[in-house]
């Protein structure tokens, strides 16, 4: 699980990255690209929010304690962008970490915009 091949793209701003993946924002297309689990997938606003909901909803603790299921594969399906992730438990944890960091950075970006460019005099 190594972040791959995306640095060369010109219009991308890195929002957040971890050892396992990265999220880039494309201002021109008003969307995000997530580089994770060996592929680069484009998400618009609705799609990103849906991904966030699906990942945050996964009960990681329950999956850890459940030893009845042998292959730890949880399917995460995001219908907004006809895209599917098939992830194991470690990948779910990694993607959640990536998204948490991403949303902190996006919130920070909003604060910066509020403070610097949305000042009404």
């Amino acid at each position: 699980m190594i972040a791959a091949k995306t640095q060369n793209a010109v219009n991308f701003t890195e929002v957040f990255s971890t050892r396992t993946g990265a999220v880039y924002q494309c201002d021109r297309e008003r969307c995000w690209y997530i580089d994770f689990a060996g592929k680069l997938v484009k998400f618009d606003y609705r799609g990103l929010m849906k991904l966030k909901t699906s990942i945050y909803r996964v009960n990681i603790e329950a999956l850890l304690l459940d030893n009845s299921k042998s292959p730890e594969i949880e399917m995460v399906f995001i219908c907004a962008c006809n895209h599917c992730y098939f992830l194991n438990l470690l990948q779910i944890i990694a993607l959640k970490e990536l998204l948490e960091g991403t949303f902190v950075m996006l919130e920070l970006n909003q604060i910066i915009h509020d403070r610097l460019s949305r000042i009404v005099i």
């Binding site: 924002q25 008003r30 606003y45 609705r46 949303f103 996006l106 970006n109 909003q110």
Partner: protein, 178 residues
């Protein structure tokens, strides 16, 4: 880097989640009041049954008002699942006690949303909530007054019949109501 999040929606994730929870609570209230209307009707309390039917409609209206607000502000409104509606009561008094309890819980819930709006300075949603704050004054008043009928009139003899007849006449029209 553009602030795409803010361009798309006025609501923060937290406030949007709280509003969606409130949508669910209003739907739950609506279903609860309908169950109360059913119990009252089956036990011969026709006026109380009408009263709760109307309450149920009002809660549905509250639900839709919140629903529209979330959508208007660019958020995603969620149509809630409602389950676990109580249908069995042992007395008319118990029905009205539950109704007041429900309204108190709803008021608390709105106070909590307002506190969160204050915290993150979402004065737009805060102002929107004012309508509901005022509505809760009326809702609690009516529920409390209804329950007081059990003390004022008393349940003995034709008491319950009297109480039932009076329930529909409760109005919130004091000077403070305007």
């Amino acid at each position: 880097m553009k602030d795409i999040m803010r361009i798309k929606s006025l609501l923060s994730t937290d406030i949007e989640a709280l509003l969606n929870q409130q949508i669910k609570k209003e739907a739950h209230s609506s279903a609860l009041y309908l169950a109360m209307a059913s119990w009252c009707n089956q036990n011969g309390f026709d006026y109380s049954s009408d009263y709760f039917s109307k309450q149920s409609d009002e809660e549905r209206y509250h639900q839709l008002k919140l629903f529209k607000y979330v959508l208007d502000m660019g958020g995603s409104a969620i149509s809630p699942e409602v389950s676990g509606i109580k249908h069995d009561y042992t007395s008319l008094r118990e029905v009205f006690e539950d109704a007041l309890e429900q309204e108190v819980a709803i008021t608390q819930s709105f106070k909590n949303i307002a506190a969160n709006c204050m915290k993150e300075q979402d004065f737009v949603t805060f102002e929107f909530l004012n309508w509901f704050m005022k509505e809760q004054r009326e809702e609690e008043y009516k529920a409390r007054r209804a329950l007081e009928l059990f003390e004022v009139i008393g349940e003995e003899g034709t008491g319950l019949w009297e109480i039932d007849k009076h329930v529909n006449k409760i109005k919130y029209d004091s000077e403070a109501a305007e």
